[in-house]
Amino acid sequence: MKLYWNCMWFIVLLGCSPSFEQGKLLYESRCANCHMSDGSGLGMAIPPLSADKIVALDLEIACLIRTGVDANSLIPMPAQKDLTETEITNILNYLRSEFTDIKSFYKPTDVAETLIDCN
């Protein structure tokens, strides 16, 4: 009986607190220099990663990461062409867990489908 409860707790914890370790590491190394560790950005030069924006852009963020943003702007966002679908998924899920209240997360297949249609 005790073993049963221990197992149940383990499963519940796994379900409730998915780990975003790789997402966090990638965010810190690829994104946080400009968007800041707390997602606050830099004035109007670098947009903040607010909850509203993360929700509104949804899977489109995957494309922005892969293709970069607006080469003509003052501080263009560089394309991260070397990141795999799984790595981008991990970043997206880290953004959701860190900056929004959303408790559902993307699967690599969702991101892979989106990336096919990126320009």
Binding site: N33, L42, G43, M44, L74, I75
Partner: protein
């Protein structure tokens, strides 16, 4: 016996409090090599300079007459530490915005790309108060050389991200062009300590306060 131990402890406590106070009231050190000539001490100072700011105005040592100022080196398209440093400079602007004896001076080291209009746009995008905080460009070599006077590093390096190697230091200069403190501009806690140093230097030039 107990009483004398108590006395010793209270004496020690008083001593510690007193010594901590004097530590904070001590003037900031004057950094760099010193020369001794004819009984006088000659301190390291920042050489003459002349750059152009975001409004095409000339910026020189005279701009900072009777003022203390904070210096950094950056470039707009910098993919590494610059935005973090600028975030901390914005904290300084917020904290010392009303302090007319403090100015700030950001040197672009990418003199080819960071033109006057681009510096202007950058200042607007960051909500920089350009009365207090000047963004300058100028002769590339002059900027690289002046960085040495501030004990900072700025050099072109094709292997560095963005093409430039530079430090994220913030440097505090007094009214006599002497460097008095610096911090790692990417580390908010070090910048907290640096802001205390700015307060100390402001107190030094306003002894009546």
């Amino acid at each position: 016996m107990n009483r004398s131990i108590g006395t010793i402890f209270s004496f020690l406590t008083v001593l510690i409090i007193v010594s901590c106070q004097t530590e904070n009231e001590k003037p900031l050190p004057i950094l760099g090599n010193k020369l001794f000539e004819d009984g006088d001490t000659i301190y390291h100072t920042v050489r003459d300079f002349k750059f152009i700011d975001q409004d095409s105005q000339s910026i020189s040592n005279e701009t900072f007459n009777d003022k203390i100022y904070v210096v950094d080196f950056f470039f707009i398209s910098c993919p590494t530490i610059c935005p973090r440093v600028k975030k901390q400079m914005l904290r300084l602007q917020e904290r010392f915005g009303d302090e007319d004896q403090l100015m700030m001076l950001s040197h672009s080291i990418d003199t080819r790309n960071d033109t006057v209009p681009r510096l202007k746009t950058y200042a607007e995008n960051l909500d920089i108060n350009t009365d207090q905080w000047k963004l300058v460009t100028g002769n590339k070599d002059s900027i690289m050389v002046i960085a040495e006077d501030y004990f900072s590093i700025a050099k072109e390096d094709p292997n560095a991200p963005g093409g430039f190697d530079h430090s994220g230091r913030l440097i505090l200069v007094d009214t006599e062009r002497r460097v008095r403190s610096f911090c790692d501009g990417t580390d908010p806690r070090d910048v907290d300590r640096f802001m205390d140093d700015i307060d100390r230097l402001l107190a030094e030039i306003n002894p009546a306060e």
